[in-house]
């Protein structure tokens, strides 16, 4: 019986992730490659990063970002991540000129992707400075990034998360930390003697094999095989996150299986090194972590993975948000806002708080635990952004079940910053229409717009010429 369950666990361990990754070559200004991952409903393009010189650093960092995003959304069916690389023998830096955001956007549009991610890397004696940029494409700004509140199926208030271009703070880390890590073979793979597809094969490794990467050369990981070094292509492997936050009193098991014997227990909430990873078709992703009391397996859902670059969390959060997985989205945005240095770019951090607030609101209905405080934090970080106030007004309606004076005050603030702010104007316009009487859950009638809010909204209509 034990052998059967071990065999089952062994077979399940090789289940492929449900998302997909693909590589395309693009040539800015020329005919774009055919659409990849046609069946994917939520796609992002990671355009090869710009490196400092003739070395392949830009390529290496972008490939790692690509694979880490795939890990972060490994259980999201219909999700895909495309890496857009320069044609062999060419360098993206020479092709992009000064198009930057626009070139990344062009390739993302041609691939019908909803996000375009790209970046630049500088290397000073092994210390990397990495800039990452993200653009959300227009169709990602549709209703999915709106926050709406209504009663009985009718939307009464809505506000949009408006920022679509993000310049994330510079991330600084050592090249060794980025590339020396455990990697997991995704499908049977040839280990070659050089980082070239035509190099002699040293050995073939099976899916699920754990290898230790000792370096990188472009799109290849250098690995130790027996007494020699060999190379495996990055598109054939899965990348575990370097670390994961594990709460106190969690149990670690001998196998990636919830009924497996317990091998260790955590005694405090701490970030642990991830040493292996498996995707199990019935229970999702599992990490093997190294705790002070011993190493063992834990379901990824019970941890907060920490990826190499905070932007990976932000992008994963958008993936989750777009398909309505609010709990997962809240976890990713929570990880982003807690990342060191996030405050260096207040605009992207404010948006992350807006998305965190919206995710918390949507996952916790009707409770709104922590959502209003996230919107308030977004306002603290970007106090001149009218959309921050409009969003908090909608969140307040969720919180109180009515258009309260607090929400109306936020609309006043939004209009004082931009009298043409569409969301705020529309909500003021709707404010009195929704002033009817409804019955609450306990059958007591109440007005949706309270008296103080009504007075303020009438005043705002007059002040800003709103019908």
């Amino acid at each position: 019986m034990r052998q059967v369950s071990l065999l089952l666990a062994f077979l399940l361990a090789f289940a492929p992730c449900v998302n997909a990754g693909e590589r395309v070559f693009f040539n800015p200004g020329k005919v774009q490659p055919a659409e990849a991952l046609v069946g994917s409903t939520t796609k992002a393009v990671v355009a090869e990063f710009i490196g400092p010189s003739d070395n392949q650093l830009g390529k290496e960092v972008s490939y790692i970002v690509w694979r880490e995003i795939l890990t972060a959304i490994s259980d999201q069916r219909g999700a895909g991540v495309i890496i857009a690389a320069a044609p062999p023998g060419q360098r993206l830096i020479d092709m992009l000129q000064k198009d930057y955001h626009d070139a990344a956007l062009q390739i993302a549009q041609s691939q019908r992707a909803r996000m375009a991610l790209w970046g630049a890397v500088e290397d000073e004696a092994g210390k990397l400075s990495i800039d990452i940029y993200l653009t959300l494409l227009d169709d990602a700004r549709g209703k999915e990034l709106n926050l709406q509140w209504g009663i009985k199926g009718e939307t009464l208030l809505s506000a949009a998360i408006k920022r679509t271009k993000f310049n994330f703070p510079v991330a600084e880390l050592s090249r060794a930390d980025l590339v020396k890590r455990p990697i997991v073979v995704r499908s049977p793979l040839a280990v070659r003697s050089r980082a070239e597809p035509s190099a002699p094969v040293m050995q073939t490794v099976q899916a699920g094999t754990l290898l230790q990467a000792t370096g990188m050369a472009g799109g290849w990981f250098e690995v130790r095989v027996g007494e020699a070094n060999g190379y495996v292509p990055i598109h054939g492997i899965d990348l575990p996150p370097p670390r994961a936050l594990v709460a106190s009193s969690e149990v670690l098991r001998v196998r990636p299986e919830s009924s497996a014997p317990i091998t260790a227990r955590t005694t405090e909430t701490t970030e642990l090194r991830v040493t292996d990873m498996r995707y199990i078709s019935t229970s999702g992703l599992w990490f093997q972590v190294e705790a002070p009391s011993g190493s063992g397996w834990i379901s990824a859902a019970r941890t907060k993975p920490r990826y190499s670059l905070p932007a990976v969390h932000f992008v994963a959060g958008i993936y989750r948000y777009l398909v309505g997985r609010w709990d997962d989205a809240a976890r990713e945005f929570g990880q982003y806002v807690a990342s060191p240095g996030a405050e260096d770019d207040n605009a992207s951090l404010a948006t992350a708080y807006q998305l965190l607030g919206a995710s918390r609101l949507l996952v916790a209905q009707p409770a709104t635990y922590g959502a209003i405080s996230a919107f308030s934090e977004a306002i603290r970080l970007a106090p001149y952004d009218p959309s921050g106030y409009s969003l908090r007004a909608v969140a307040s309606a969720y919180d109180s079940g009515r258009l309260s004076a607090r929400a109306a005050t936020d609309l006043e603030q939004a209009l004082s910053l931009d009298s043409n702010d569409r969301d705020a104007r529309r909500m003021v316009e709707k404010g009195l229409e929704v002033g009817g009487i409804v019955k609450s859950a306990n059958s007591l009638p109440y007005r949706i717009t309270d008296a103080n809010a009504e007075r303020l909204i009438k005043d705002l209509k007059g002040r800003y010429g709103i019908k």
């Binding site: 310049n167 510079v170 970007a382 931009d418």
Partner: protein, 331 residues
């Protein structure tokens, strides 16, 4: 024994406190045309509201106790925004990294200062920039990096990094209108004081001039002072001269260290410079064409303001000033 230990602990704590206090007080000296400038009003901001810091005395000096003025300690390597204003002088904003130096010399430029005539060699060097189009470029004068290995290479990498960071910032705020916006590195022989940098900028018809220098090391740290000057002028608006002060360990000077703080600061100022240039370029005659041009400027300035953070009131005041000016015309 216990008493001795207590005393030792007290002395240690006092030492740490004294060291901390020293780093949190900045001795400011404001200079212009080799003379000290009294009566300059100074404001300071750090993670909270803008605070009046006082005026420079008859010796052009002001001792600024940051903790006392701000009501909080400034974290090591965090930057405060210092602003200097006096009638008849170009306003100055400085982003100053706290914790390594307690003295700061602040050059201001008198409105009546006259730049020396550009030499023929400098004119020839700047000539290619003169007709490069409406949106740019920005002129980068090589940083003066005395005593640093391979300064030319550092400057070349700095140019590429600044260009990418400025262009992507502008693209993220003002949309895709950056085809001609780039950073050109030009070597000039003349001085790098503000009035001379303005002369280079006016001659070459650029959007802004960027320059900087490494100051002699103190306590193992080198001060890197960077300057950004907006060249287009608007009668109704005074663009400030912006400085960023960074402290870098000797031997760690590289392009990444140089532009750590510059990323957002320079991008934002470039948006401001573009707005001034676009307002100047709008049809002069009142009417729908002028209004349409100004509405466009208002849109991207509004987007820029909305990305302003809790520590950027001084800069946002300038954006606000331009928005008020535009609103008066548009309505």
């Amino acid at each position: 024994m216990r008493t001795k230990l207590k005393r030792l602990l007290w002395f240690t704590l006092l030492g740490v406190f004294a060291l901390g206090s020293q780093a949190q007080t900045i001795e400011l000296t404001v200079m212009a045309d080799n003379a000290r400038v009294p009566g300059v009003s100074v404001t300071v901001q750090y993670k909270g509201p803008l605070r009046e810091a006082g005026e420079t005395d008859s010796q052009g000096q002001l001792s600024l106790d940051l903790q006392g003025k701000l009501g909080q300690r400034v974290a090591e390597r965090d930057a405060v925004t210092l602003s200097f204003r006096k009638l008849g002088f170009d306003p100055v904003n400085r982003l100053f990294t706290v914790g390594t130096s307690s003295a700061l010399a602040v050059p201001m430029t008198s409105r009546s200062a006259v730049a020396s005539q550009l030499t023929q060699a400098d004119q020839t060097a700047l000539e290619p920039l003169r007709n490069l189009g409406a949106n740019g470029p920005l002129l980068l004068l090589p940083y003066e990096l005395n005593g640093i290995a391979e300064p030319d290479q550092v400057n070349r990498r700095l140019r590429a990094s600044l260009e990418r960071r400025i262009v992507t910032y502008v693209q993220s705020v003002a949309g895709a209108r950056t085809a001609e916006l780039g950073v050109r590195l030009v070597v000039v022989a003349g001085s790098r004081d503000v009035s001379q940098m303005q002369a280079y900028g006016r001659y070459s018809n650029v959007l802004a001039v960027i320059g900087g220098e490494a100051k002699p090391p103190r306590g193992g740290k080198m001060q890197i002072e960077s300057k950004y000057l907006i060249i287009p002028k608007l009668q109704e608006f005074e663009a400030p001269v912006a400085y960023v002060d960074e402290f870098v360990t000797e031997g760690e000077i590289n392009s990444a260290a140089l532009h750590r703080q510059l990323k957002r600061a320079w991008g934002r100022l470039t948006v401001l410079a573009l707005a001034i240039r676009d307002i100047n370029a709008a049809p002069a005659a009142p009417g729908s064409e002028r209004k349409a041009a100004l509405v466009k400027v208002r849109q991207y300035l509004g987007a820029e303001r909305s990305s302003g953070g809790p520590n950027s009131d001084e800069y946002l005041k300038e954006i606000e000033e331009l928005l008020t000016y535009l609103d008066r015309e548009i309505r």
